[in-house]
Symmetry: D2
Amino acid sequence: MKKNFCIPGGDLRQLQVARKLTEQGYGVSLFGFSDYASDFHNVRLCDTLQEAFADADYVILPLPCSTDGVHLNAPYRKNPVSLKELYSYITPQMTVFAGKFSSPALSERGVTIKDYFLREELQVLNAIPTAEGALQVAMQECPFTLHSSRCLIVGYGRIGKVLARMLNNLDANVCVAARKRADLAWIRAAGCLPISIREIGERIAGFDIVFNTVPAMVIGKEEFKKARKDTLFIDLASKPGGIDFEEAKICGINAIWLLSLPGKVAPLTAGEIIAETILNIIENQAAGTAEESERTNP
Amino acid sequence: MKKNFCIPGGDLRQLQVARKLTEQGYGVSLFGFSDYASDFHNVRLCDTLQEAFADADYVILPLPCSTDGVHLNAPYRKNPVSLKELYSYITPQMTVFAGKFSSPALSERGVTIKDYFLREELQVLNAIPTAEGALQVAMQECPFTLHSSRCLIVGYGRIGKVLARMLNNLDANVCVAARKRADLAWIRAAGCLPISIREIGERIAGFDIVFNTVPAMVIGKEEFKKARKDTLFIDLASKPGGIDFEEAKICGINAIWLLSLPGKVAPLTAGEIIAETILNIIENQAAGTAEESERTNP
Amino acid sequence: MKKNFCIPGGDLRQLQVARKLTEQGYGVSLFGFSDYASDFHNVRLCDTLQEAFADADYVILPLPCSTDGVHLNAPYRKNPVSLKELYSYITPQMTVFAGKFSSPALSERGVTIKDYFLREELQVLNAIPTAEGALQVAMQECPFTLHSSRCLIVGYGRIGKVLARMLNNLDANVCVAARKRADLAWIRAAGCLPISIREIGERIAGFDIVFNTVPAMVIGKEEFKKARKDTLFIDLASKPGGIDFEEAKICGINAIWLLSLPGKVAPLTAGEIIAETILNIIENQAAGTAEESERTNP
Amino acid sequence: MKKNFCIPGGDLRQLQVARKLTEQGYGVSLFGFSDYASDFHNVRLCDTLQEAFADADYVILPLPCSTDGVHLNAPYRKNPVSLKELYSYITPQMTVFAGKFSSPALSERGVTIKDYFLREELQVLNAIPTAEGALQVAMQECPFTLHSSRCLIVGYGRIGKVLARMLNNLDANVCVAARKRADLAWIRAAGCLPISIREIGERIAGFDIVFNTVPAMVIGKEEFKKARKDTLFIDLASKPGGIDFEEAKICGINAIWLLSLPGKVAPLTAGEIIAETILNIIENQAAGTAEESERTNP
């Protein structure tokens, strides 16, 4: 028999998670969306946490779970709900799915918490909306087309790979800076021009747009000194980021830090990815396979 | 000896035209941009029309030349200038380049007017910023990624071809509706799915985004009745367009008409295309080749 | 009620035509293939022309219909059949489909002959196997990969367009030479480097492979004098071709003329294209639409 | 001061290695090619090993070094040379570069041996000629175009990734079978259809071409039983391969094992990759960086 999910709070992503789970035949109780999901089939819209958690086997917490550390992140609900109250409904019989989340309180009570955000397949699939979001912002900011523009991507991890492919496919001239020789080989195989991270400074004036994906300072004072004033800089790296924004400001250069793009630019796609990842975790659990090797390295 | 251009009024496109022409060694006088082009090399910034038209061999009018039919379109100038005054400086010895423009007054005085907007190469190159602009708006409006989305493009002319290629390269599932069998063959050769214009209605519910490029009513009451409420409709066709916006509104469907995208989303690219086209016309004139066959059919 | 086709002689293409027509519900009689089509469902294998032509509404002649002008082109049949005998079975009630074919004898007797080879959609679709065949030969002949190779394509008609796209997609550096400015614009839109036909000579030494698609002498003595000895030349133009093979030989340069590639490198695909084109003609006839405009200009 | 290389024996790859090294300013002595490299600039053609090894700092052995275990692999030389004689010229002062090579005799004498074939960047770059070679053979063997064909690639390692991209870019319908969920995510990001390795059997009848890249039996009796007779199977996996060729023969199915493609289909490209990798190793040595992490895992 298919199990029941309780989804308290969250944004459009959680709604899409609910939709995907019901399509797979799971029972889903939503809390905190009353008016927004009235056209959903087979979803139970609940006004109280008690109702929402009745019969729940799995709980999916929003991303982030809380924005103030005290209340549940539930932008579509008027009255705030405290995390404390929420947690009181979670029992050790339930499995909690959450992203970038830990709760000593829950762990101590023996509740199993699965962080779907650490799964490699989620990180890979999230690179798609992230890269598209970067394209969107670049298109909005630039008075020229990406077609024929000269772009530098710093780093060839997940986002770098997907972004390089998209820009290349839109006929930008794509250069990718990486450190390892194997990455430089992959960049060439992908039809882009590989350069060493060390060459960024001397070449930076030749680019119209620079995208950073490396979470370590790679574009700083030295680079901005040599850069053109009309080059756009976009940082896609998670904190601490890789662009010195203070320095960009001083130089009068447009530099933008884009964080958590999937939920912002494509919440439905982001929700589908989360749903799929959670189902993978459940399937692995059932099969008794940990797939440890698939976890993302921090 | 290289000739002199006078460029009165206009927006960023005209500035880029000026930059490109000076790069080619032409003399350029700008009127209506005083503060905005102060960092341009080799461009003469003029405060008066008299100064701007001195020594002019060629005149490039903005696009459009006027927004009210009375004054020059000069958004970067404070004090308005009448077309009448402007025209008084144009002599039969000058060649006037303009887009979507005709002036009986000038023609009667024997002034040669060249409409660069009718040139096929300009129309083709303009399809690139137009298609990118369509992608940008689609990305902004849709809560999902273009990657894996199901897109329909109606029409396989210049914009349809370029847009289909871009969407296909971004891994959208691209279907293109056309009438002629040869076009259906080209669509297949381009890796997209061809359908007949007649099939649009029966298939429309299967698409997440519908782009129209045909300037004749193709998406009307019948189609909207069968469409999903969450499908985005984007009309890229010039007037009269091809989507019934009234009907879309009644059905509560998001439909957007995007006109004159190149100048809006990529004025620098649009300016380069104009400069290049004008230089082609001059080169053809010098060579005595009309290239009549290259003119766009209205 | 669906009609009956008689398919006398021909190669694998005709077999594939037969298969596609039976899939569409048509009756098909094959003559000249006895052993080769024994596993075909719903196809009538005939030993005599009389049997094959019984009940025939349509006749599909092979391409070419005859290789000696006297006998039917039937490579899979032992005993030769004269065209004269074949024609005696064709009545004015039948419609004859053939490629690059004319027969005053049949026309005088009032038989309708449809040349499918003149249809634009067939020519477009045939560009796909032609371009793939060119890639295959280039791969066989070159001791280097197409990836990163420098290729010149002369001409941007059907084959030039499809070949440029394929080479570009395989990460070759693709340059296309054309005459018209609109074509140069399309080449740029396709992500390739456009050059003027006039520049071929001065640039030819920079290419590893040169593909010609223009049926007029474009690569002759002057070009070969400037070319490298290790550049491969492939001519895809129909007669009279566009490469001076005598001159290539004198210069010790490898030049290959590839004709009628679809039937040679991809007979099944070529057969499907023929079947589809014939069905289009029949559909047009039924609808009373001539689609004159879709005919290829000779 | 630039160092000297001695290159004894080998095929076109070694010639290309020599050319690239001289372009970088290194001294190069070739042994075993007398007539074939007469047009090379700055290469010393040697008739004796003694001459070739004089002043040598580096030695590059052919791939494979020997085909019989006794003599040097030197196809362009008439008189055989024993490995024993060859080795007698190698001193501990020299560094030996070789591929898939070990020699206790040399190691015991204190000679440093660097296996360039273990370097990750070489393996990645070699995937390009390997994938192109696979395309070439598929084109030769199939009576249909890759365009629109249905292809399955088993495995998403280096070759799988590059091949999937090429086939996708040629408009084949590309399905890739992999085991790990992260790989399935990457396959989707690349615009291909991911399936589980477990699904191969049930889906195999839907493919026109199956490429295996996994060096473990994945296509055996069970799969061939369900496969169509006209599907082409190509094995690109190194020994022991992943296709049961005996079983294919019994079923009358065309299955081809392609090994060591880079040297066969694109020796010049393969040579360039080897030269580049050797220069990387030398540069790393000079910089004192082991780049251990870049070594291929066996």
